[in-house]
Symmetry: C2
Subunit: 199 residues, 2 copies
């Protein structure tokens, strides 16, 4: 039994999305064609128009429909504190947390020699340029604690070392609510290294 | 923090699909806009064209691009054995199992007074019509064992009772590989009732 070709074509398109296997793709395709034609056609238009309208912010590399993203165009944000992130999803996570008043710089990748991703392949040149124009700049590097994340963190630290830039990284430690005895050794070891005095 | 409006529009479209929550919809939308424009545009076209081209088979109510579905237009299938199913997904399941040589009738729903779905709201009239034109017809009712499924099964049985139609339903029982001690009481009770002589 094969699906009608338009249907199998639709299924293979759904499979291009992350974490979508054959079964989920089938279910989504079959549900999609149950929607009214207007809904399907609006969905299709939203896909193409997102792809066409969204592009990187000219300053920070985050996603926007305009030249500058909402954060970069907000006068109330402190432009001399820059939080360096891997991707746009991390920007959203920080904005949801809601306590950060600086701006961002989205690398859109991490240095990974094994995958042939070099410093010039990620959005780093514009960071150097941005920082050079600031007085008393501060960089907060918030990359994940993998080899790629740490390589990139160290690389950025080296670039700005001795140039009057205050550089920090996020602390490693116990995630909220986690049981100490379930933590892996590396997390525990890092939480110990990053310990804070109780005042 | 709000998403750019085109992006949040795309996310809300993904949320219309079954089992897709906010987080999954965000992940899919963000991945979609990472695909090349050509892929996105093909995906969008596949959606609209599936909706436009696929429609119910004129005979059995299954999904097809033509007047008749692949099964109904296949001369090798036994047209006097009709397996009655709830939806197109069930047709696919049967065809994958691969041992059935009859044809199907897709009800596209089940009788459910509580949801105001009456016999005339599902694809039943055309089944009566089909069966009346056959010599020695056989009906195999393969609906799920819920109140709606069993109500529909009994309703169909009543329609054809005493009219020379051989009617059966699928057996209830232990699914392959299941541990007896983990089965619920109703399944066990039904497996007992549907027991078969070991020959």
């Amino acid at each position: 039994m094969t699906y009608p070709s338009t249907l199998s074509d639709l299924i293979s398109n759904f499979r291009k999305l992350p974490g979508i296997g054959e079964k989920s793709a089938e279910r989504m395709a079959l549900s999609l064609i149950e929607l009214p034609l207007e809904d399907v056609s609006n969905f299709a238009k939203a896909m193409v128009s997102s792809k066409e309208k969204l592009h990187p912010c000219l300053v920070c590399g985050s996603i926007t429909e305009n030249d500058l993203c909402d954060v970069c165009s907000d006068d109330k944000r402190n432009k001399s504190v820059i939080c360096v992130l891997e991707d746009y999803k991390s920007v959203i996570a920080f904005e949801r947390a809601g306590n950060y008043n600086g701006v961002y710089h989205v690398l859109n990748g991490l240095i990974s020699p094994i995958d042939d991703v070099n410093p010039e392949d990620i959005n780093l040149a514009s960071l150097i340029d941005r920082v050079s124009k600031l007085e008393n700049p501060e960089l907060i590097i918030a990359l994940k604690s993998t080899i790629e994340g740490e390589t990139t963190t160290l690389y950025i630290k080296k670039i700005f070392e001795g140039k009057g830039v205050e550089i920090s990284r996020l602390s490693y430690g116990i995630p909220m609510g986690a049981e100490i005895d379930y933590l892996d050794e590396i997390t525990l070891d890092r939480a110990l290294n990053d310990r804070k005095k109780i005042s």
